[in-house]
C-alpha cells in the first residue's frame, strides 16, 4: 500500500496544483507540507473510499463526511480569514507573495452533535423557471434542472451542491 501511495503523491500533487491555479486557488508553496497532505488524502481514499481531510477524523461514511472531502466546505472562508485552510494545503495569494509559512488555525467545522446530516432538498415552489444550485465548496451558482456533474470552478463533485433557490 505504501508503494502504491508513494507513486501517486507526485501525480496527485501536480494535478491538484494545476486545478487550483486554473481556478484562482493556490497550493501551499511548502512542497513538503503539501505533499505530506497529499499522501494523507491518498491514504484516506484507500481506507475510506474518499479523500477526507488528513487533519480531521473521518467516519468512513462519505455522506457524513462530505463537508470534509478535500477541498472541504471550509477552505474558502479559512483561506480568506487566515490565509490558509485548516490542514494548510491551500493558501491565499498574499501568503504566496509574502512567502510566509502557514500557521495552524482554529477548527471551523462544528462538533458532531451540532452537525446535522445533510438533509434532502425539499421540493419548494419557486417563481423562477429553473432552480439555482450552489457549490458548497466555492459558492458557484448555476440555474439548471440539476447540479452539474463537476463544479466548473473548483471541480467539486455533484454531491457537494445544494439547492440555493
Amino acid at each position: 500500500m505504501k508503494e502504491m501511495i508513494g507513486t501517486g503523491i507526485e501525480e496527485l500533487h501536480a494535478r491538484l496544483n494545476k486545478e487550483a491555479e486554473e481556478s484562482g486557488y493556490h497550493l501551499n508553496p511548502d512542497a513538503n507540507h503539501a505533499k505530506d497532505l497529499v499522501r494523507g488524502l491518498l491514504v484516506n481514499e484507500k481506507r475510506y473510499g474518499y479523500r477526507a481531510c488528513p487533519c480531521r477524523l473521518a467516519t468512513g461514511d462519505e455522506a457524513e463526511d462530505l463537508d470534509i472531502v478535500g477541498p472541504c466546505d471550509y477552505r474558502d472562508q479559512d483561506v480568506e480569514e487566515y490565509g490558509a485552510c485548516y490542514c494548510g494545503l491551500y493558501v491565499s495569494e498574499s501568503v504566496i507573495e509574502s512567502e510566509k509559512s502557514v500557521a495552524p488555525i482554529p477548527e471551523r467545522r462544528k462538533p458532531p452533535e451540532e452537525r446535522k446530516r445533510r438533509e434532502q432538498i425539499p421540493a419548494t415552489i419557486s417563481p423562477l423557471p429553473l432552480p439555482v444550485w450552489r457549490c458548497r465548496v466555492c459558492g458557484y451558482l448555476c440555474a439548471r434542472d440539476g447540479p452539474p456533474g463537476v463544479c466548473p470552478i473548483c471541480k467539486a463533485k455533484k454531491e457537494r451542491f445544494e439547492r440555493f433557490i
Binding site: 484516506n44 477524523l57 490542514c87
Partner: protein, 92 residues
Amino acid sequence: MTMMYIEGEDKGKIVLYALSTCVWCKKTKKLLTELSVDFHYVYVDLLEEGEIEKVLDEMKHHNPVCSFPTLVIDDKTCIVGYNEGMREALGK
C-alpha cells in the same frame, strides 16, 4: 487501547491524541521529541471502531470539539493544535 510511548525527561503525564495522516500532529510529535520529554501518543484513526468512541469520549473532557492534535498534560492542561505554547507549558 494501546498508547505508544516515547521515553524522555519526566515532565508529568503527557498524552498526545493524534491522527496518522495529520501534518500538524506530526509537527507536534516532532516538537515533543525534540524537547525530549516523556510522552504517550495514540493515532486515533488507526484504532478499532469501538476504541475510537472511547478515546473521543476521553478527549471531549479536555477538548469538546475533538480536533487534532490534542495534547493533555497531567489530565488538566490541554493544548489544541500545533502550538509553540507547549514549550512553555512543559517548562522548556
